[in-house]
């Protein structure tokens, strides 16, 4: 794939959404200037963007690794919540104090259980796919709603914070297992470093290890991989566990780094945005980092733009959605060369 595709896609997206900005009655140039300034224009803007990028990197990696193996995991949103809930279950202040264990033990245990919760949530759909041929797009997507309802039940029931004045929110994490601030007086936390490290690790895994080679081969041509003796079903299970674990960690890191507890609106669709990010990144783990920062900047910038020139914040969702569509088109255009002939009566054809 050509490297130019993401840039062409983004340029087209900004062009397209400028029509909507104009429609909302705002000056296009100023609106975009505010958007970029709001997302990347100051130290505060960068801190907000990178805070927002942290879960997006993780869900983006979850989608990228799964899509590489042609396992279409649309359930990162649910896996994120499952991870968040598992984190609170291990590290929360149950009964006022929570488990009495050293943070050195509790923190890894909390992360591990979050990863496990996400992984197990995706394992079911992956097995259903490989054993019975059930479409994983449907199962993972629908599981999101089941998980959200389950979270809702837990937040109103066993894990409800009694001090939250009736709001459906979980108990808070113990102090010792929260992630530290990266920069004082911002919301940036060390979860960003975790996300970057995992991106690097995933990139290295795919490029340098036998497991990564098998994942790439199975994804690109499962029949050829099976002929060559690769355990296709086992590779798919490994990918499912990896993808689900990454999405689960996104939830745990959000809880441990930002919110401190689980609410039903802690993720404004990070799981779904991860899919867009993975596509924008052409499924490259390092590209996921760049795409996450871009998308996070748009989301953050759209807030401040909306306050200044009265364009609805939904413009951010439109930008992200249109950039996904134009990325798909740009990827296709990079693979085919569309030849238009004028006046010959021939139909355009792709080569």
């Amino acid at each position: 794939m050509q490297l130019g595709a993401p840039f062409i896609a983004v340029a087209f997206t900004l062009l397209f959404t400028s029509v909507l900005v104009a429609w909302a009655g705002a000056p296009i140039g100023r609106a975009y200037a505010l958007l970029i300034e709001g997302g990347f224009g100051s130290r505060f803007a960068w801190s907000e963007t990178l805070t927002r990028a942290t879960p997006l990197i993780l869900t983006g990696l979850a989608a990228a690794v799964a899509f590489r193996a042609r396992l279409f995991n649309i359930g990162a949103e649910g896996q994120l919540y499952a991870g968040a809930l598992a984190a609170v279950a291990v590290g929360g202040l149950h009964g006022g104090s929570g488990f009495d264990a050293s943070p050195w033990l509790l923190f890894p245990l909390m992360m591990l259980s979050a990863a496990l919760a996400g992984a197990l949530l995706l394992l079911g759909p992956a097995l259903l796919k490989s054993r019975l041929g059930v479409d994983e797009v449907v199962t993972t997507l629908l599981l999101n709603f089941i998980v959200l309802l389950f979270v809702s039940m837990m937040l109103d029931g066993p894990m409800k914070d009694p001090t939250a004045m009736g709001w459906p929110q979980s108990v808070a994490l113990q102090d010792g297992v929260q992630l530290g601030k990266l920069v004082a007086r911002t919301r940036m936390h060390t979860g960003l470093l975790w996300a970057l490290a995992l991106a690097l690790a995933l990139w290295a895994l795919l490029k340098y290890t036998t497991t990564g080679f098998a994942i790439r081969a199975v994804g690109a041509n499962a029949r050829a991989a099976a002929f060559a003796g690769m355990p296709v079903a086992w590779v798919n299970v490994k990918v499912a566990l990896l993808s689900g674990a990454l999405a689960g960690l996104a939830g745990a890191i959000e809880v441990a780094g930002r919110t401190g507890y689980v609410t039903l609106d802690m993720s404004p669709g990070y799981g779904y945005s991860g899919i867009v990010i993975a596509m924008l990144a052409a499924l490259n783990p390092l590209g996921v980092v760049a795409a996450s920062v871009f998308v996070a900047g748009i989301l953050v910038g759209a807030d401040s733009m909306s306050r200044a020139v009265n364009v609805p914040t939904y413009i951010a969702d439109v930008i992200v959605a249109v950039s996904l569509l134009s990325m798909l088109v740009a990827t296709m255009a990079a693979q085919y060369r569309v030849v238009f002939r004028v006046g010959s009566g021939g139909v355009p054809h792709a080569r």
């Binding site: 036998t210 080679f213 060559a228 003796g229």
Partner: protein, 520 residues
């Protein structure tokens, strides 16, 4: 050669004048001029990529030529318009059938000829026309039979009828283009096709017969146009030509027939005992090539999957040097089985991955290529370079080892697969014990076919047992020592190829009683 009809006349029915077509930097057709006389079969011969398909696509209006023009029956043919080609009386039969399996013969013939605005189709009239054409050209079909119930030969008959009937509302096709028509036929079905061609010629039609098989083109054509690298290198009369001359014209250099050094079969390498539902028994010895002939879809695929280590046979067992291996491809590869799958694009390689990663596909987790789960990229690339060099894989000049494998031509892709299989373990460089080659030369051009054959013969001389599954009898007679015929999962005894006669082969392929007299 099919003799011309008495009606053959001087004025050409079709004239291509200096057709030129360029795809990017590739000159697919370079000023090709051709004439087709009434009542003749013109053979269009060329390797894959010589420009045959491009030329007929231009003729039939799928492509527009960059330069040059076409005249049909003295009238200029508007470019890029398949409808105009049909209206001018040009019919085309594609290599891959374009029939709807779940519809009847009549429905298929009517498809595309009926105007969509008419509330009712005119089946009765279409039926009359179909039967008329069927009688006239001696192509017997049942108009109400469903396509899925027909044999491949019958389906092709329907394709031809469809081309003949639908090309023009009143008179039917006058010019028929057949693209690789025998690729899917048994020898007997091919014979019947040649009879049909004779009937067409007798009725005053003209035929362009596209093929890369020399025997056939010599057999059916009056004149033969040879394309090479997009150029028309020669137009020769079939009567005065021969295979060697045509092969040299086609490839541009003399082709050496594969040679082998005589060698008596050695010890038993592989034994199939009562394998599969058909109860296949077969012994393979070191230093011999045993061929499995048969029409496609008679159990070759299952046999190949058992011997590739992909599937365990439902019955019986396969012994390799006395050992029964589990259905795990890696065990078979490790035991010294070199495997060449039929579908090189879909099964042989991962097209998206670079050449060097495909070169290690079967052995990436051996100690030579990875350690503790980490790929030894330098070693793997060195191994790939070795394969490319020893097996003359071309097409990696510009991008090197990172070339995506799908960018290779069919021949070079096959050389990569062959090299990967025959080189064996990158550390030990042990020659293979057994080579299982499923249609190893399918779709390759002459040069690549000769190369593959020579490699198989050389490996055999060095002591490998070779099982060659092939639908190409020429190939079998060229390199195999013994041959058996497979029909519906049953295998005849393997006999030396010289002991088989064509009628016996035809009978065995059709499932006729196998002559057990010669068995062992």
């Amino acid at each position: 050669m099919i003799p011309d009809s008495a009606a053959a006349a001087a004025a050409p029915v079709l004239r291509l004048h200096a057709i030129t077509k360029r795809f990017g930097s590739l000159l697919a057709n370079d000023a090709i001029s051709l004439e087709l006389a009434r009542g003749e079969v013109l053979g269009l011969l060329g390797e894959n990529g010589a420009g045959k398909s491009t030329l007929v696509s231009i003729l039939f209006g799928h492509y527009v030529a960059d330069a040059g023009h076409i005249e049909a029956f003295g009238e200029p043919l508007p470019p890029g318009n398949p409808g105009a080609a049909l209206a001018a009386g040009i019919g085309m039969v594609h290599q891959h059938f374009t029939l709807a399996d779940n519809l009847s013969v009549l429905d298929n013939v009517m498809l595309g000829t009926e105007p969509l605005w008419r509330p009712f189709s005119r089946r009765a009239a279409a039926r009359v026309k179909l039967l008329e054409a069927a009688t006239r050209f001696g192509l017997q079909v049942n108009p109400d039979a469903l396509i899925r119930d027909l044999s491949v030969g019958e389906r092709q008959r329907v394709e031809i009828l469809k081309a003949l009937v639908s090309s023009d509302k009143r008179q039917g096709a006058k010019i028929l283009i057949l693209d690789e028509p025998t690729a899917v036929l048994t020898p007997a079905e091919a014979e019947s096709l040649f009879d049909t061609l004779q009937q067409l010629i007798d009725q005053g039609l003209s035929v362009i017969f596209i093929s890369h098989k020399l025997d056939e083109v010599l057999r059916v054509s009056r004149r033969i146009a040879v394309l090479r690298g997009g150029r028309l290198v020669a137009t020769v009369a079939a009567a005065g030509s021969n295979k060697a001359e045509l092969a040299e014209l086609m490839v541009g250099r003399p082709i050496d027939a594969p040679t082998r050094s005589a060698r008596a079969p050695g010890e038993l390498t592989c034994r199939l005992r009562d394998v599969g539902a058909g109860g296949i028994n077969l012994d393979l010895h070191a230093g011999e090539i045993v061929a499995i002939a048969g029409v496609a879809g008679n159990g070759q695929q299952a046999l190949a999957e058992w011997l590739f280590g992909l599937q365990a046979p439902p019955r019986g067992q396969v012994e390799l040097r006395g050992r029964v291996l589990p259905a795990k491809p890696r065990e078979w590869v490790r035991a010294g089985v070199a495997r060449i799958p039929e579908d090189r694009h879909a099964v042989g390689v991962v097209g998206e991955l670079p050449v060097w990663e495909n070169a290690m596909l079967e052995r990436f987790d051996t100690p030579a290529l990875s350690r503790a789960g980490v790929l030894r990229r330098a070693a793997a690339q060195a191994h790939a370079r070795n394969v490319i060099e020893r097996f003359d894989v071309r097409g990696t000049q510009s991008q090197g080892l990172a070339t995506p494998t799908r960018a290779l031509s069919g021949g070079n892709m096959q050389k990569l697969i062959l090299g990967r299989a025959l080189m064996g373990n990158p550390e030990a460089d042990t020659p293979p014990l057994l080579i299982v080659a499923d249609q190893p030369t399918w779709g390759l051009d002459i040069g690549a076919v000769a190369y593959v054959h020579q490699q198989l013969l050389d490996a055999c001389t060095q002591g490998a047992a070779v099982l060659l599954i092939s639908e190409d009898l020429d190939e079998i007679f060229a390199i195999a020592d013994r041959m058996a015929v497979i029909h519906q999962g049953r295998l005849t005894p393997a006999r030396p190829v010289a002991q088989w006669t064509m009628p016996q082969i035809g009978l065995a392929m059709a499932g006729g009683a196998v002559d057990h007299h010669h068995a062992h």
